[in-house]
């Protein structure tokens, strides 16, 4: 039986904020999407579903990419789609095996753009060692799409005995972050708003399955992995806290943010905790395994700047708190609507 704890209606029309990855997205999911499809694999609400088929544990995920601009510093919609889908599999501890790619093309899209995106998508898939084995193309009338949308699905294999899920966090676990926050979201926004910086900010878009493999080889006491994409770190941690029925206490000073990203956030009035990342992961790890896990992350090129940023607490379940730079504490809430329009 579907239960809705928040009796707030989602409204009579879809708003842009419903796609922000924050509370409105969660409401949409809970009030419209989940009741329509409810089943045990889906109800875990992880980035991937893990289902058992003839003794094999398959991870399955799908993701649609509507990023604007299509090409941005550090990547494009093609590489982003591959990385995003591989990462959704990797966060379940799965070894990614195969991808699909489907394109919705708007009439009038320059063929050159499509070629560039498909080449980049293939390049990213090849580099990650995960082939695109099936796909689809559709064309819509001019005005019915925004140039190019990409949908990718992926399947992978999860080892027996491995259970990574957002309901597994326990008090005293360590909260680890693999690197700097906000690079992707700010790279996109800077490009879109025509902001220029002395050192251009590049998206961190990257496939994280190698990093996850390194981490899991070092310790099996990992409870949960998340890639903080839409809605940023704050939303990812709030989801874990709510699903696990635990609190969290973060240390603001331990959270790494590049100077350029910090500067852009100051200028634009954004909080890096809510800005999207496409090549970072947050790991909830048993306290005793924290050092080993951190060492493993730092051994990998994509985790060199990994830090321990906080601790899971028994107190204030469902709430993420943070010790601020001046030594007081505050709540790190989930975002209600959009901080940025459409960034992934």
């Amino acid at each position: 039986m579907f239960h809705c704890p928040v009796p707030v209606p989602v409204g009579d029309r879809v708003l842009l904020g419903h796609g922000s990855g924050g509370k409105l997205s969660a409401d949409l999911l809970r009030q419209v999407i989940l009741p329509a499809f409810a089943n045990p694999a889906l109800d875990r609400l992880d980035d991937q579903a893990v289902v058992e088929v003839r003794g094999l544990r398959l991870a399955f995920t799908t993701d649609t990419f509507v990023v604007k601009p299509l090409v941005f510093p550090g990547g494009d919609i093609g590489s982003l789609a591959v990385h995003g889908t591989i990462n959704d599999l990797a966060m379940g501890g799965a070894r990614p095996l195969f991808l699909s790619a489907a394109f919705i093309l708007e009439e009038g899209l320059p063929m050159e753009t499509l070629r560039r995106v498909t080449a980049s998508l293939q390049g990213a898939a090849a580099a990650a060692g995960v082939p695109v084995v099936t796909g689809d193309t559709k064309v819509v009338e001019k005005g019915s799409g925004d140039g190019l949308f990409v949908n990718t699905s992926g399947i992978g294999l999860v080892e027996d005995g491995l259970l990574l899920s957002s309901d597994q966090a326990r008090p005293r676990d360590a909260v680890l972050l693999s690197g700097t926050l906000g690079d992707h979201g700010i790279a996109i926004l800077a490009q879109r708003e025509g902001l220029e910086f002395e050192c251009p900010i590049e998206s961190d878009s990257a496939a994280l399955h190698g990093l996850v493999a390194r981490l899991l080889a070092a310790t099996r006491e990992v409870r949960c992995l998340r890639d903080p994409t839409r809605g940023g770190l704050a939303s990812a941690l709030n989801e874990i806290a709510a699903r696990s029925g635990v609190g969290m206490l973060l240390d603001e000073r331990a959270i790494p943010v590049r100077e350029e990203v910090k500067g852009a956030c100051e200028m634009l009035g954004l909080d890096p905790l809510y800005v999207a990342n496409e090549g970072k992961l947050v790991a909830i790890v048993a306290a005793g395994a924290a050092e080993a896990a951190l060492g493993a992350l730092r051994d990998h090129p994509l985790g060199r700047e990994a830090r321990r940023i906080g601790t899971v607490t028994e107190g204030h379940p469902g709430l993420v708190a943070m010790r601020t730079v001046i030594g007081a504490t505050r709540v790190v809430d989930m975002l209600a609507g959009d901080q940025l329009p459409r960034i992934c």
């Binding site: 601020t324 001046i326 505050r330 809430d333």
Partner: protein, 365 residues
């Protein structure tokens, strides 16, 4: 980052807190006027560090929060017209009017866009002569010069398709109203640093003298606010009532004279209704007759209707510092950032939203 990190330094913050604790001998009620300051206080937990004697109440200085319902309704009416491209600062999109908000207009097919600068609206008007481009010009003296510049530029270029729905408000008249109120509890003010960057702080000197109340113009980082509080406590404990400037790296006595000149050229002072406060005489700016061709209210002939606030919402008292957001029975239940009853729950600078986002652990579930 220079000019940021040193103003968020824990050691300096602790030293200032110790200084405040050393000076304070009895309870004082202080108000930070500006919503940006409220946001910083909450985001960094500055108020948590202060001795019990220092009570901070939050002022009316959130431009989004005080924009009256009628203006939101006018914005919704104009933005709903098929020929209009409506351009606004992002925060205004979610502010509920009496029937709808701009996000819903956008979802219903309206051409509503978010901009960081009014000049983006001027560029749109230039690029799309077939569209009526309307900029939603709200804010205090801080945003007014840029908005004035946009109108000025549009007139110079003869951009007949550019207009502005202007609802600017001025801080000193609202402060005066607060100080004249028999219910006023505030004994010292942290002045609005960005407003004073534009306007200087001569007007605050007059207020301080007239009402015998200390005003310290303050910045927006935690150390700025702590230093301003320390300066206010020192004045109060010593029985002084002066206008002082903590935010010296940005604010001068005279302010930004070119910005004041463009304001003077484009806008004139008018009476203005503040959401939650009511009509405040000579507290608004409207376009001068010379710029009437770019006034969206006349261009689209939108009706001025009076609209009532939801009865349950206590934002009027919150905006005057009479109650805390958590004193409102609707706070966090029927009124949340996703479904705000009143404007202070909408904007990141609104006191209710700031409490909701950063303070729920203290306020209870």
């Amino acid at each position: 980052m220079r000019y940021v990190d040193e103003y968020r330094d824990e050691r300096i913050a602790r030293a200032l807190v110790a200084d405040i604790a050393r000076r304070v001998t009895r309870p004082w009620v202080l108000m930070e006027i500006c919503g940006g300051q409220t946001h910083t206080l909450m985001r960094y937990g500055v108020d948590e560090l202060l001795p019990r004697e220092v009570e901070l109440v939050h002022g009316p200085g959130c431009p989004v929060c005080v924009t009256p319902l009628e203006i939101i309704d006018k914005a919704v009416a104009i933005a709903s017209r098929p020929e209009v491209t409506f351009v606004s600062y992002g925060d205004m999109l979610r502010v509920p009017g009496s029937g709808s908000d701009l996000f819903r207009v956008k979802a219903g097919g309206g051409d509503v866009r978010v901009a960081y600068s009014p000049m983006e609206a001027v560029r749109l008007a230039r690029a799309h002569p077939d569209r009526q481009v309307v900029f939603f010009g709200i804010g205090f003296e801080t945003t007014a010069p840029a908005n004035a510049m946009a109108v000025w530029q549009a007139r110079r270029e003869g951009l007949a398709n550019f207009s502005m729905l202007a609802s600017h408000v001025l801080v000193p008249p609202a402060l005066e109203l607060l100080l004249r109120s028999p219910r006023n509890r505030v004994q010292g003010f942290i002045g609005p640093g960005h407003v004073c960057t534009v306007m200087g702080y001569r007007q605050y000197e007059d207020l301080s003298r007239t009402f015998h109340v200390p005003i310290v113009v303050g910045g927006f980082e935690p150390v700025d606010l702590l230093e301003a509080i320390a300066m206010l406590v020192a004045q109060l404990e010593e029985g002084r009532a002066e206008a002082e400037n903590q935010y010296v790296r940005s604010v001068s006595y005279e302010g930004n004279l070119p910005a004041q000149r463009i304001l003077e050229e484009v806008f004139e002072v008018c009476d203005r209704k503040w959401r939650g406060v009511g009509l405040v005489p000579r507290s608004g700016l409207r376009l001068r007759p010379a710029f009437a061709a770019h006034d969206a209210e006349t261009r689209f002939g939108v009706e001025t209707t009076s609209a009532d606030e939801p009865a349950e919402c206590r934002s009027a008292e919150v905006l005057q510092g009479l109650v805390r957001p958590t004193d409102c029975p609707a706070f966090g239940g029927r009124c949340t950032p996703e479904n705000p009853l009143g404007a202070p729950m909408v904007s990141a600078e609104g006191a209710c939203a700031a409490y909701y986002r950063y303070r729920r652990h203290a306020a209870g579930p």
